[in-house]
């Protein structure tokens, strides 16, 4: 396949993630403004501001977003060390059967002495964008905290000058990304495989290459790898004959 052809497919990939990225970027300024106006003093002040921003997208199926929210940088809030202001969409089945699911708050444990407390700063979706200050797509991974399913998580940094205030994020189901993206990639000659920066397969036009496996040394075997220009940390489209 010509580089040009692969390039057009890479654009199709970018076009699936771009609306989610735009959505998060659209929340950045109102959120930074709320923080500047004192919402960072207490979690009880921050939460309604985040809820107002994120919940409309969670009832709107066209966004593919099944969970969204703001993750505070350690020490940002006056009353808690870490804070996850996260809402689950109507279509997110975590802890609720599909028929009963509503837009709802993720019950987060913020007492560091509790066994259910998770220090999210160890997690890829926090660690990488906090370090690179770029939007980052984590996964595919089994997220047993926020979706209980096979998930992609997009996180974007919210900053004031050099200071990281926190991250805005959105969860996507891998199965829904497959449905949205596969038609745009199939039909081309050869095999196209979208991999994340660790070489983990997000999806492939080869039906016998499952999501989640690692594509090792593909570039060395006559394959062409093209970066997907989507505005964040690298995603790669690998074309094989």
């Amino acid at each position: 396949m010509t580089t040009q052809l692969i390039g057009s497919r890479a654009d199709a990939v970018a076009a699936v993630f771009a609306p989610v990225l735009r959505l998060l970027e659209g929340w950045r300024h109102p959120l930074a403004a709320a923080l500047a106006a004192g919402a960072g003093e207490r979690s009880a002040l921050l939460d309604p501001a985040v809820e107002r921003l994120v919940t409309p997208a969670l009832s709107d199926r066209s966004t593919l977003v099944v969970g969204a929210g703001f993750i505070a940088a350690p020490g940002l809030l006056g009353d808690v060390p870490l804070h996850l202001a996260w809402w689950l969409g109507k279509f997110n089945t975590l802890g609720a059967p599909p028929a009963e699911a509503q837009v709802r708050r993720l019950p987060a444990v913020e007492d560091p002495s509790s066994e259910d407390f998770h220090d999210y700063t160890f997690m890829e979706w926090w660690r990488v964008p906090a370090e690179t200050r770029l939007p980052h797509l984590t996964g595919p991974y089994v997220d047993y905290l926020c979706t209980d399913d096979y998930t992609l998580t997009l996180t974007v940094p919210v900053t004031r000058g050099d200071e990281l205030l926190g991250l805005l994020g959105a969860d996507l189901y891998v199965r829904e990304i497959e449905a949205a993206l596969l038609p745009a990639l199939t039909g081309a000659p050869g095999v196209l495989t979208l991999v994340n920066r660790s070489g983990r397969v997000i999806l492939s036009t080869d039906p016998h290459r499952p999501s989640g496996v690692l594509l090792r040394n593909a570039a060395g075997s006559g394959a062409t790898a093209l970066p997907v220009e989507w505005g964040g940390t690298p995603l790669t489209l690998v074309a094989e004959a």
């Binding site: 595919p140 989640g212 496996v213 690692l214």
Partner: protein
């Protein structure tokens, strides 16, 4: 009435017997009691509210309340009213009689079958994870294991459950992870009864490091075999505890 027909009728009636409040409350109580007695829910931990427990277990609020009342009667939790209130796990002064009681109500066959079910699941997850683990994942797991403090048995049981869940997640299978969570909830604490011996806790740490080594080198057989052996050892330790409990009880 011929005996067979009566027996069949009774068996059918049992199948379709309503899951009454009492039966479900007892199940909820047993889950929580296991976790408290074996230190998976440590002393001082605040349990979720009645409404939240009901939601998590998928039972009525009145059922959750009944389970909490039984736990209170047994002295395993204490409920405080008002601001900062809730149901708190009480320190268990003498675990042994409580664990003995639990072990005596289960047969060796049941205990072994739990082990088989869990070992099948955990070893399959480890095998899959071996071909799907990146260097980043290995680093994350190593950091996790380095943070484990197994000087106390409850902490060792919590560490075991965390490690197993993380490896399951690396299999990239959401179903395997959900099934892990379900089995851990059902009999996780009990399976690791053997952790009351420090030697078993130390061996577990060695085991985690060995599994990480297999994942790092993509050794599927190694990851599966080590996991199976570790869980089988736990089952034998559990059976030894059961034998000792039966002896003390007779």
């Amino acid at each position: 009435m011929p005996e067979t027909i009566r027996a069949r009728g009774a068996a059918r009636a049992a199948v379709f017997a309503p899951l009454d409040g009492a039966g479900r409350a007892a199940l909820v109580e047993q889950r929580l009691a296991d976790a408290i007695i074996l230190g998976v829910l440590p002393s001082g931990e605040r349990l979720p509210s009645e409404a939240e427990l009901a939601r998590r277990f998928g039972v009525a609020t009145v059922t959750a309340r009944e389970a909490l009342e039984s736990l209170r009667d047994r002295g395993l939790v204490e409920t405080r009213r008002g601001r900062g209130g809730g149901s708190f796990v009480q320190p268990v002064r003498d675990h042994r009689p409580l664990v003995d009681l639990r072990l005596r109500e289960l047969s060796r066959v049941e205990l072994r079958d739990m082990g088989v079910h869990y070992a099948a699941l955990a070893s399959a997850a480890a095998e899959l994870a071996a071909e799907r683990t990146t260097e980043d994942d290995v680093e994350g797991l190593s950091r996790l294991v380095a943070s484990f403090d197994v000087s106390e048995e409850g902490a060792a049981r919590r560490a075991e459950s965390t490690f197993r869940l993380e490896v399951a997640a690396l299999s990239q299978s959401a179903r395997l992870v959900r099934e892990h969570v379900r089995l851990q909830a059902e009999f996780g604490p009990l399976l690791w009864v053997g952790f009351r011996e420090a030697v078993h806790r130390e061996r577990a740490l060695d085991h985690y490091r060995a599994v990480i080594g297999h994942l790092a080198s993509g050794d599927r057989d190694g990851a599966r075999g080590t996991t199976l052996a570790h869980i089988q050892e736990a089952v034998e330790a559990l059976i030894d505890e059961k034998v000792a409990a039966d002896r003390r009880g007779s």
